[in-house]
């Protein structure tokens, strides 16, 4: 049973516009969420995270919003740049230990 879900496999956005990537989760015990960016044939790189005690975390062009009542989080990228084109994974630590549950990812394409 997948506890972290990314229901949009792909997203295309024009350069300079906002990219919004969505993530839903089912486990209300999750208390921390992470976003990773992945290029083909490379490992994921950590992008930004948010604790469940917050509803927003911002780092430069990247902002993550958390709506606990809806069990939903989103990653906003403003302004989008061609170099942002990659697969973005949403993740949450498991109940025990620190291994992560990942969504299936959303492939973002930023066009010039």
């Amino acid at each position: 049973d997948q506890q972290v879900k990314q229901n949009s496999p792909s997203l295309s956005v024009q350069e300079g516009r906002i990219s919004i990537l969505n993530c839903d989760y089912t486990n209300s015990m999750f208390d921390y969420f992470l976003w990773y960016k992945k290029y083909p044939a490379e490992g994921p790189t950590f992008l930004i995270s948010i604790s469940s005690i917050k509803d927003k975390n911002e780092d430069g062009r990247f902002t993550v919003f958390l709506n606990k009542s809806a069990k939903h989080l989103s990653l906003h990228i403003v302004p989008s740049q061609p170099g942002d084109s990659a697969v973005y994974f949403c993740a949450a630590p498991r109940d025990s230990g620190y291994a992560l549950n990942f969504g299936k990812g959303t492939s973002l394409l930023v066009t010039p």
Partner: protein, 110 residues
């Protein structure tokens, strides 16, 4: 941030061969993980270790095995590779909740 090294980056190998994928880290973190990922799919945890001589299987059933004889080294071995093992294998290290990944090994079994 941990420095994590995976070798080889790419490997094409014939069915039935034994292979070992290497993963090393330089930061001395106890927690290490192996994930497997196919295009369009989530990363699946296949093995993890919380320290020397500690290894556990993850969620995804895997015919691979791992060892943790030294803190910095967490190799993954396939005794007899099959085409179904074709995938990307990702090694990760964590101190707390954030995991840091190596560049991965893209394995193709023909």
């Amino acid at each position: 941030e941990a420095d994590i090294y995976q070798t080889p980056r790419y490997l094409v190998i014939g069915t039935g061969k034994k292979i070992t994928l290497e993963c090393s880290q330089t930061m001395g973190h106890d927690k290490m993980y192996w994930y497997q990922q196919d295009p369009g799919m989530e990363l699946h945890l296949i093995h993890y270790s919380y320290g020397v001589n500690s290894t556990e299987k993850g969620d995804l059933s895997s015919e691979s095995t791992v060892s943790r004889i030294r803190t910095e080294h967490f190799p993954l071995t396939l005794e007899s590779a099959r085409p179904s093992h074709t995938s990307q294998y990702l090694c990760a290290v964590s101190l707390n909740t954030e995991a840091f990944f190596g560049q991965g090994t893209r394995l193709t079994v023909v």
